[in-house]
Amino acid sequence: MNYRWKNGLIFALSLTLIVSLVVVGLGQDEPEIQNPNTLTAVATGTANTLDPSYAYDTASGNIITNVYENLIRYPYGVVDGDEKKPGDYSVSKYEPMLASKVPSQENGLIRKTPDGGIIYEFPIREGVTFHNGNELTPEDVEYSLERTMIQDRSGGPSWMLLEPLTGYGSITSLVTTVAGVEEYSETTSADRTAAFKAFIDPAVEVKGQSVILKLNDPYPPLMNILAHSSYWSSVMDKQWVAEQGGWPGTAETWPEYHNPGGGSAAEESPLYDKANGTGPFKLDRWEPGQEAVFSRYEDYWREPAELESFVLQKTQEWGTRRLSLVNGEADIVYMPLQYIDQVQGAKGVTVQTGLPTIQMNPAAFFTQDVKTENNEYVGSGSWGDGIPSNFFNDVKVRKAFNYAFQYDAFIEQVLQGYGYKTNGPVPKNMQPYYNDELEMYSYDLDKAEELLKEAHDGELWAKGFEFTILYNSGNESRKTAADIFEANIEKLNDKFEINVRSVDWSTYLDMMVQEKTPLFLIGWIADFPDPHNFVTPFMASDGTFSGWQGQGMKELATEKYDPLIEEAMATVDEQERKEIYYELQRLAKEDAVDVWLPQAQGIRVMRNWVQNAPFNPMYSDSWSYVYPISKGYE
């Protein structure tokens, strides 16, 4: 055979081989359980740190939740891979974890002190060991809570313990107030030690086998803040942390361990890449941004976990994650809602939909008194080819926008049908505080037209307006929401013009902070399942988002909302609180401060051989606690 044809033949043969493999590859096979003793979960987040006092992101939380434990936990419903229901769960009831009893007024472990304070007593379980073999003591619990309080890194979670236990939102503001100076840098080490002894130390005390938390004022969500899935309240081993170079627990030394790395360099904390908890899994290995590998802790105080090991892996690309799931190498994967059709009905794959979520993500915020100087997003800054600064100060305009949104279209297009309408800011699944007596705004262009004709004394309707709604690029749901506003408002009057434009996240953030976006879209996911965690960012005068909604919003909030928000925190009586939150939600609707967009249902995607997967909306990604899970067919 001559050279030319020999090579040609090789080439043709290899092409044929590739094509035939493609054809064969399109076939199907029988699912067989891969790695029956290992659970592989594939998600997209990069954990920031393993330090429970530092972590404030769900990716870190997914690791910490399995290694560390808290005093109490929420009941979780258990779902088998082939079931669809979320099971019995609660975010307002508790079960004991490292505490042997859940404190309540009935069992006398929550009681009032003569000076008007409240005491929570947690009897600590005996015979529990950390992964390094050390025994759990009440001192460890005291130390852990205090450590979170003194570490208080910038932008971190410590405020959640500081607020109830000391009355201050940060340890620096506590110290400066005690010292009577303006700046933390002006305080002396004596001031700092004194502040610790006066506020931190007495807030958490050991009495026998119990730990006692003492609050000067009631703080209704305290139990939520302590419950498992609140990483900042994880129980650490005092001796071990000190051995790693961490805080030894003394009053004099705490400032050295405060705000490690300035809140941005997580490695500065000695627990950045080490973990030693009492949980069902030990951490074997962590490669940031790649994977975490866990193995079963055999001396666990409950029955050891069914699974021998657990791998939490990061894969950015959905297509790759999907293949790992279909192939059976991954047991649980994170799936963005828009891809649900790709896994519905796939062999051996279960898609659970309709799981309750506790979030308000996203909502559309109106900026009142939007800044118009050097602001290309408000046009000229006056009627006709722009909007005046007070465009959204008129409640009629805000209501008109609420009527001009196709809620059902948003559910269909963005949430693929897996969404629900809600009134904000208290999430629908946060019972009993969600006000379901309120009628929701619905799509009604006639009403929107009527309101806009009256708004701003008719000037708006006569002269028209133009402004831009921004969304951060890549966020398609925000774009669709903005498009819906554009289409409907422009339908009403030829002189109305709304532009929709994408900017990168950094510009988006910048514009929101500077109060230059007339209407912005952003969302909030619960730190702890209490309405306080939602009314504050959405309605308080200094709230995270409401703080960007301009002077008009600030005035509304100071006058009407702030007093109610405070009042709701002054009592632990559920009925009383419920009435106040009902009123806040009524006001939010009446004043139309935001547009409450439909929310996504929780969805999880797993192999049908995954059994006993726990469900609680407070576990991030709704599956992150692995202890009860086993693999097999029934």
């Binding site: 590859g25 932008g155 490669e287 590998v293 690309e317 999907r322 293949l323 953030l509 952003i522």
Partner: protein, 344 residues
């Protein structure tokens, strides 16, 4: 030649300093809040955050020269700061991601070069007949096929289909356990090479199974260019008189092509291939993403999206050095392959 190299080396620090200043300067055009987005990459991180306090803490309000000076003085002490995009120290991020990209580059280099040359030869030898057309079509499809499509298609067939020979990622579960055990010494952090050095064939086979598909994708999308250069260069050579002479001597066709024509036709191909391979070491975002390889390319893109200055600057520094050396190497190769080129 030596003086040429010396001159190029002397320019190197200035080139790199210039590039660094430009990149650093461009980031500084952004407002303070925009630069804060490095630390606040999602709404969740806004919680309980006072942006003004943060900006002050991170020194974002300082003048640009103060900040550049601070960065340079840190770098001189070999401290590259914290990578907010990789969530680890920048130095560690680089040493983690670099071997990943390098290993992929090494494994792709051979198929890219050999495949390109082979296809080019095939096309030239069968000039204008069916095989030529098919080979060119095959290569041009690769050139036009986005690597995420090629990558996902291959994964669907060789991983998600009947066979699961070639999974994504760098190692399987068991192999990873071995690699991370105390007995396994990680000399280079390149799995295939470490496996050979440790004499562990299980890990080697596993690592190779993971590297085959990305290497194929990286090669396939590059073959078209090499094929075209090889084909035209060989066609030209085949028309030369000395090739006719060889044929006239009665040499076999295979010997004429392989020994006489192809070697001389290789010069332009080697040059292009050299630069290709230098660029491969940079990491390739799409291939790394599809196959779940955590390499330099993905890190750089994440860092750029997040304005993660410390990571970006290290990447720029690395790239500057790499490209200056790659260009130099190509220049030297020219002189070596073609005696007519001199630099003195």
């Amino acid at each position: 030649m030596i003086s040429y190299i010396t001159r190029r080396m002397l320019v190197l620090p200035f080139v790199i300093l210039g590039v660094l200043l430009i990149v650093f300067g461009m980031i500084q055009f952004l407002s303070v809040n925009q630069r804060l987005s490095t630390y606040i990459s999602s709404p969740a991180e806004l919680k309980n955050t006072d942006l003004e306090v943060l900006a002050e803490e991170y020194g974002l309000n300082d003048p640009i020269w103060t900040r550049f000076g601070r960065w340079i003085s840190d770098v001189v002490q070999f401290n590259f700061g914290w990578s907010e995009s990789a969530k680890m120290p920048t130095k560690k991020a680089f040493t983690t991601f670099f071997p990943v990209s390098l290993e992929l580059a090494i494994w792709s280099a051979l198929p890219i070069v050999l495949g390109g040359i082979w296809l080019g030869t095939l096309a030239a030898v069968n000039h204008n007949n069916v095989i030529d057309h098919i080979a060119r079509l095959f290569a041009i499809v690769g050139w036009s096929l986005p690597s995420f499509v090629a990558g996902l298609l291959l994964l669907m067939v060789f991983y998600g289909g009947v066979v699961s020979w070639f999974p994504p990622g760098r190692l399987g579960f068991e192999a990873k356990q071995i690699v991370n055990s105390a007995q396994f010494v990680r000399y280079t952090h390149m799995n295939t090479i470490d496996a050979i050095l440790n004499g562990n064939w299980f890990v080697f086979v596993n690592a190779v199974r993971h590297i085959i598909l990305p290497a194929i994708v990286m090669s396939y999308v590059r073959w078209a260019m090499l094929l075209r250069i090889m084909r035209s260069s060989l066609l030209e050579t085949l028309r030369k008189d000395y090739v006719q002479t060889a044929r006239a001597k009665g040499q076999k066709e295979g010997v004429v092509i392989k020994k006489h024509a192809r070697r001389n036709a290789l010069i332009p191909v080697v040059t292009v291939a050299g630069i290709y391979i230098a660029f491969l070491i940079n990491g390739l975002v799409v291939t790394e993403t599809i196959f779940d390889w955590h390499g330099l390319g993905r890190w750089a893109v994440n860092a750029a999206q997040q304005f993660d200055t410390s990571s970006l600057m290290l990447f720029v520094l690395f790239n500057g050095v790499l490209l200056v050396f790659a260009n130099l190497a190509v220049d030297i190769m020219y002189a070596y392959l073609d005696p007519r080129v001199t630099y003195d």
